[in-house]
Symmetry: C2
Amino acid sequence: MSPAVSSRWCPTPEQLMILEEMYRSGIRTPNASQIQQITAHLSYYGRIEGKNVFYWFQNHKARDRQKLRRKLLQEQQQLHYHQFQQHQPNLHLQLQYFESPASPFQHLSYYNSPSLLPQGVVLHEGAPRQMMNYTWKVDYPEKVDIEKSMMRSYDSDWIMMVDMGPPSPCLTRPALETLELFPIKATNLKEECNNRS
Amino acid sequence: MSPAVSSRWCPTPEQLMILEEMYRSGIRTPNASQIQQITAHLSYYGRIEGKNVFYWFQNHKARDRQKLRRKLLQEQQQLHYHQFQQHQPNLHLQLQYFESPASPFQHLSYYNSPSLLPQGVVLHEGAPRQMMNYTWKVDYPEKVDIEKSMMRSYDSDWIMMVDMGPPSPCLTRPALETLELFPIKATNLKEECNNRS
DNA sequence: GCAAATTAATGATTTATTCAAG
DNA sequence: CTTGAATAAATCATTAATTTGC
C-alpha cells in the first residue's frame, strides 16, 4: 500500500486551463485524432494520456449538462413554488444539447485543421488491469502492419484505451513559460443537494 | 449512396460462433490486450477490427441482461397473475451479476495467459468522422515514440479506436475447429420494463 | 496550527439508451 | 426486428477541500 504516486491523472493548472478553454471553444467530443493532438500538446505541461483527455471531455460535458439540468429544474420549482402552478409545458424535461454553437473555435482552430493523414500512432500495451491478467503474444497478424498507403482508404479513427497498472513517478515538467494564471475558472459551484449517506 | 460495401461490420458465421463461445466461456469485458488478440484471431475469418469485438461484447452482454430481465419480469407477472399476490420479497429487483463464475475459461485459456509485455500495437488514424474534419500534423512529440522499455512503467493499456470507413471485400475464410460450448452463467439484471413506443 | 474525519470534486468504468443499417 | 455503432447517464473510486477536535 504505497502508491508512491497517484494512481490517477491529476491535471496541472495549465492543462486544465487549456482544456477548459477548448471546451469553451466548443469542443465537446474530440475524435481520436484530436485527442492525440491535444494529448501531445498537453503532455508538455505534464504527464497525460489520451484517455485522460477523452475522459475529461466526457465528464466535463456530462457534468455541465447535469448542472444546467439541475439549475433549470430548480428554477422550475421556484416557479411552481412562488407563482403557483404556473408551469411551462414540459420545459423542465429534456433540454437540447448542441455541440458547437456556430463557429466558436477561433484561435483553437489549429485543432481542427483538415486531416493530414497521420501515419500511425504507436500504442503500447501492458499488463491487464482487472479480472484477467493474461496476455498472449501480441504479435499482430499480418493484417495489421499495413502501410499508410492502405490506411488512407480506411477512414478509421477509433480509439480505445484501457487502463493499466503501476504508475510511474510523476514527472511533471516544471518549466513552461509563465502562463499568467488568472482565476482558474474552476468554479465548481457546488450547487447540488444529493446528500449521500 | 452506394457504399460499395457495407458500412458496418458484418460478422461471419465463424466469427460469430467464436465470439459466442468466448462469451459462454465467461468473457464479458475483454481488456485491450484481449481485444487485440481476439481481433487478430478472428481476422482470419474475415475483416474485423478491435472496436467490433469491443462493441460486440458490450452489446451482447447488455442484451443478454436485458433478455433475462424481461424474462424474469414476465415470470414475475405470471406469478402475480396466476398465483395471486404471492410474491417473493424483492427478488425481482437487482440481481447480482458476476463476470465469471469460477474458472470457466478452460479451452479458451490461451486468451488469458499472463502478459508477455506486448511491444506495441500500431494504430492508424484517418479522417475524423463527425463534427470536425480537421487533423493536424500527427507527428508525435518526442514523448511518444518511446521504447517498450519505458512503456512498461507507464500504466497504460488503453486502446483507442474509432470507427472507420469503407470495409474491404469480405474475405471470409472457411474452417475453424469445433469449439465445444457450455452454458452461460452471467446475469446481472437490474430491472427493467420500459416499453418504448 | 495540524491532522484525523468528513465532504465535495472529479477521474475512471460500467451500464443504459439511442440511432440507424440491413 | 435484430444488432452494430455511438453517446449519455449512472456508478465507482480516489484525490482535494473542508471541517472539527485537540
